[in-house]
Amino acid sequence: MDLSYTPAQQAFRTEVRDFLATSLPKRLSDKVRLGKRLSKAEMEEWHALLNGRGWLAPNWPAAYGGAEWDAVQRQIFEEEACLAHAPRAVPFGLTMLAPVLLAFGSEAQKQHYLPRILNGEDWWCQGYSEPGAGSDLASVKTRALRDGDHYVVNGQKTWTTLGQHANWIFCLVRTDTDCKPQAGISFLLIDMASPGVKVRPITLIDGEAEVNEVFFDDVRVPVENLVGEENKGWTYAKYLLTHERTNIAGVGFSNAALATLKQVAAATQSGGRSLAENPHFAARMAQVEIDLMAMRTTNLRVVSAAARGQAPGAESSMLKVKGTQIRQELTSLLRRATGPDALPFLPEYLDGGDNQITDLPDHAPATAPTYFNMRKLSIFGGSNEIQRGIITKAILEL
């Protein structure tokens, strides 16, 4: 038992901090700090900066251009990046597709696709959910019928995050209907420039359209775009759930959100005292801070077990449930701390324009949209109810 970091880990933290201090443009960190929306070009700019340092793909092997960090290093990077208000690296290619390709893809697929993720040629999005397949993901209906050297794909995906920026989509498609739903699914890579692919944005509760519907109408996909074996896609999709989710607790985000919340609460006057001195508000703030202190250690316990080679099972689900509860509570408290200043909806400001309302604090416009947006945390990636089922079933074995 030792809660301190090794000298090597401390040196790594310093290295990360120095990199962020010198390389992260203030233009970007200001936007992230204030909860503003990043453009595609800004996200690509940050990817290029990380790639230049060799840090864009923390979990990939060095042979494919990855940093090959262990789980503790990844955790340190996440903490430092969040505290510096760095943009988050877009995960779809880096941490969702790449591990599947590395584990199950052909060498040709790895050689072709992985470098293009690093150099920004390809922007991937995820084609999992469908209108009839949310938490029940195995009921996907998008069909892929073999026709010579091609699959012909028909169907619809939804909740496709940042699909508006993507040129490729990795999809779970149905290749067999005469079996258990899980057994007839394949993992297919589809060029979004193919004839028959259509993307339609979905405006969400926060006023932004970060998700999309993606339609497939007789889309012809070369058979070499199949990952692994036909009808094994469910196994590949599930592999991700247990192997590559050390950031699932979002501890770095919560650390940064708590720091912001404390600043706002101390600076906000309410009834002749600061909000931090209001006993009711202070109690809620303290309770979430205490939960987060324990969560940091819970997360590190799972992370360091993973670093010793133990694949987390139900622990991932616990981190997801508790981590998202904490993140949602923090966004809720920040919204309340902002008071009536949370009311104005200023999309131009959120996109990078100036604050046009006199005396409106700069942090205010994003608080309500962020709160509303973060409701997604307990819904996506397997809803928290699905996670509770996983946690209990792993232990009850009924």
Partner: protein
């Protein structure tokens, strides 16, 4: 960063767990309580022989471990087995204060505590003091070369069995003043000392101690006059870790019993663990127990830190243990149904201990408020 036990600690944990599972089952505990015995003298001797008391003290104090993680692992096992032996009262509190403040001859007594031969208790809390460590109204008056104590101490854990009491008393200042408090080593049979024993709802022996013109030599004082508060706070931090780890162990037992029950208990033609309403409640219990374990790790790892950091972790951990403890205890009873409320079934014993630990060394609300105050002091 390492969350595995060292080889020595793993051996200690393994040995203690094995000893308790072979020698301290639920029936042992129930039989002790039925005979109105405060604890089992034979078990006490064996625990001392195994070195469990020595594990709570550093080498310099005559033990062989004594760090936060040692206290945590010992008390987690005690909690897991539902042990009522007086390790907290005699070793962590009484012995801990002697080791911290005692002069050479007083320190020598620590050895007897470690062998189990001597039993100590800490008489500190007073009527109406709740969790305020500085609320000391028992008076200590200098009379020539002697000291005279007067007043009442309540909730003295292990007080009736102890041969010596460590008594806090005020030499100067007003009732809530941290300065002016001293500690005195008082023989339990000294003239003017009355010890009235009672049992707690979770099975421990406690006492009310009345001090009426108790005359002590000045050599009975531990440390400098009026300067005991820091030691009281330090030892209370260690005791808070001990009961937090004990609660964690009891939660692990309650959790294991509930998991078994969800698998075995049949209703509507299937195991009740098949029902999603129950599965989801159990999932939250499992998740929160991991948070409780992290909270114990946090306090154990910061027990030797500077006061501000240590106390912040004391309050964070005790608050979280109180909240999670209530959840685990209440859900374990609910998921069991009526059987969970019977005295015969072990669960109710773990549940009582988990819940009542919130009433020791500060509860959820006390420590939430204190965590906020400590944060404001630091800012």
């Amino acid at each position: 960063m390492d969350f595995t036990l060292t080889e020595d600690r793993a051996m200690l944990q393994d040995m203690l767990r094995r000893f308790l599972s072979e020698n301290y089952d639920h029936e042992t505990r129930r039989a002790l309580l039925a005979r109105a015995e405060p604890f089992d003298r034979a078990i006490w001797g064996q625990l001392a022989e195994l070195g469990i008391l020595g594990a709570l003290f550093t080498e310099a104090q005559g033990g062989f471990a004594g760090a936060g993680f040692d206290i945590a692992l010992v008390f987690e096992e005690l909690g897991r087995a539902g042990v009522i032996e007086p390790l907290l009262s005699s070793a962590v509190l009484g012995g801990g204060l002697l080791a911290l403040l005692g002069n050479d001859s007083q320190q020598a007594m620590v050895e007897e505590v470690i062998t189990g031969a001597a039993l100590l208790a800490f008489a500190h809390t007073e009527p109406g003091a709740r969790y305020d460590l500085s609320a000391v109204g028992v008076t200590a008056k200098d009379a020539k070369a002697e000291i005279v104590l007067n007043g009442t101490k309540t909730h003295v854990l292990g007080g009736a069995e102890a041969q010596r009491l460590v008594v806090s008393a005020r030499e100067t200042g007003t009732r809530h003043d941290p300065a002016g408090i001293s500690l005195f080593l008082v023989p339990a049979d000294a003239p003017g000392v009355t010890v009235a024993q009672h049992v707690t709802i979770d099975g421990f022996s406690a006492a009310t101690v009345t001090l009426t013109d108790v005359v002590l030599p000045a050599s009975a004082r531990l440390g400098a006059a009026g300067a005991a508060f820091d030691a009281i706070e330090t030892v209370t931090a260690r005791a808070t870790l001990a009961v937090s780890a004990e609660a964690l162990g009891a939660m692990e037992s309650a959790k294991a019993m509930t998991i078994s029950y969800l698998k075995e208990r049949q209703q509507f033609g299937r195991p009740i663990g098949k029902f999603q309403a129950l599965q989801h409640r159990m999932a939250d219990v499992l998740t929160e127990v991991e948070q409780a374990r992290s909270a114990v790790v946090n306090l154990a790892g910061h027990l030797e830190a500077p006061r501000a950091v240590r106390e912040r972790n004391v309050s964070a951990t005790k608050n979280l243990i109180g909240r999670v403890g209530a959840l685990v205890a209440e859900e374990a009873v609910q998921l069991h149904g009526g059987i969970g409320m019977t005295d015969e079934y072990a669960l109710s014993h773990f549940v009582r201990r988990i819940v009542m630990i919130d009433h020791m060394f500060g509860d959820v609300d006390h420590h939430l408020e204190r965590f906020i105050q400590l944060g404001q002091e630091a800012a």
